[in-house]
Amino acid sequence: MNLLDIIRTANSNLFRNKLRSLLTIIAIFVGSFTIILNNGINYGVNSYVDTQVANAGGQGYLEVIKTDHELGVNIQMGPSGPTEFDPDATPIFQRITQDDLETLRGVEGVQRAIGLPMVSARYIQSYENNKRFELSLQAFPSDRLNVDMISGRMVNNNRNALEIALAPDFAEALGYTDESVLGRQVRLGIRLQQLGDTTSAPEIIRHIDVTVVGVQNRSVVGMGANFINLTTANAIQDLMLSEIPEAFRPADDFMFAIVEVDEDATDEEIAVIQELLREKGFQAMTIAEQVGMVMSIFDAITTILNVFGAIALLAASIGIVNTLFMAVQERTKEIGLMKAMGLSSSKIFLMFSSEAIMLGFWGSVVGIIAASIARVVGNNIANNTFLADLPGFTLIEFSVPSTLSIVFLIMFIAFVAGTLPARRAARQNPIDALRYE
């Protein structure tokens, strides 16, 4: 009996007791479906984030905050719950002063350190249709970051001109197309800060005109913000504070600073610089690390779901053992006959093992089919709801190697489960089997 015959026999034996095989396959399917789908989501999210991170660039780009605390996902938490207040201790967050920036510039490997001004505008107004829109405004941190553009270019921090790169959909709202808006002036309404209780006082709005240099595509880095260059940010900041007497103006300091190091620096070299910064009381994170922090939570969820899948598979393999023991019992005479006709014990073993492997195989095939359907349906729902603003994000994506390895793993588990009944079948004595009633 050659291998093909053994596999063919095993497969047709499987279909002899259809209901029993089907139930076992369903049990396996529950596990395989969970694991395949779960890994599909993990893969989908990871590959999206990976491409976003890769597209975001950010080589040699670090975001710096000033704190003595180890950064965790939840910064206010110490190792054993919330950190108790201590009046002598430095606060968790400290603002980054001009002196701090000098310190940062003095660290070996740091090419550039700038504070990032926090600015805002009340509205953006079109000269074309005079409509006004709410907007979120951000200073573009560094030309080391890449943001995918529909048209034009990103703002340039080295220019003295007032530049803005619009968020997606803004060009149209302002009465232009993504192309025709380039080079046009738009008006930003800036609310001036006032001293004292300003809740009842009327808003004072001043205008600043900026030139549109580009329109962004949707992206994780962009996050839907309108980017302005540092020149514009500084101009807006000056404008915002113009009503406040010099003596009452807040210090010229920042929440965040941006540090640029050599673009070709390796991960190890960056780690050295991060350590140097830590010694001086700064925490610096790369883009990948910031994303990694979020992803580690996601990975933990995936792992838990995979454990559930594994438990389902464990239950299923007990089902395989049971099914095959019944099959061996049922086919005692047949086994006896085949042995009488000269089929070796090892091939009988192989036949029943193949049957187990087949169960695993069909269970995972059904799992793949169901997961594929879930993928189409799930992606469709996701793209129409919570992922609608993130084109290029497929929630569930299958990687061929990882799906294949799941299939092989399940087939292997099925094989291991099958060895027990298969051994019993192989050990049967032809005479006893033929006399068996």
Partner: protein, 267 residues
Amino acid sequence: MAKSTKKTETPLVIDARNLTKTYGKKRSEHKFTALKNVSLEIAQGESVAIIGKSGSGKSTLMHTLALLDKPTKGELYFAGQRIGKLGSRGLNRTRNRELGFVFQQFFMNANDTVLNNVTLPLVIAGRSFFTRRRRAMEALRAVGLEDKAKNKAKDLSGGQKQRVCIARALVNNPSVIFADEPTGNLDSATGAMVEKILFDLNRKQGITLIIVTHDEDIAAKCQRQVYLKDGEIVSDTKKSTKSAKTTKKTTAKKAPKKKTTAKKGKK
């Protein structure tokens, strides 16, 4: 090659020497000796009936001669080869290529087709798809059931089932066919037809036939009758008057064919 020289010295297909078969553990109270010191020599082409009352040890003897069971004591030679030395691979090979089985209870895969049932020994032997088909169809033709090849085995009548089993026993060109009460589950008319097929195979193809039976009529059609009682051979008569003629015929046919030798040479 040493084997074939030995074979010419011993033109016996089966040579059993002092076989004893004890069931149950050696010292146990339940131990039972089903065969006691049985010696039997069967030549190629013979037809032998093993007769005896129920429980006399007929099936036990047949299973031992058919290499399905090991004797507790004694030695068994098949075509000149000592079985004890064969090992499980050799045993499987010999059973597959040299022996055919027909049982009272048929033993078929009822839900499978007739053709697939007949090809089973060839599948086990690992023959090619075309050889399987060709030989199975030949065997079915020999038992007159070619037109049933595609039918499910369970849809056949008892006599047809037994003929399919004969076709299956025949399909790998065995040198010996063992039949344990082949007509036991059949009425006399269909039984007679099955008998005829078996004896034709013995006569025309020189296949050694060993039939276990209660039935004196069938036994009388064999060249030789071996009577068992309580696990012992009580008589061994050759060439009853009726089969004396057939013996001549068979020897005449058998001599040029030399089946086992020819087959061994092929391999």
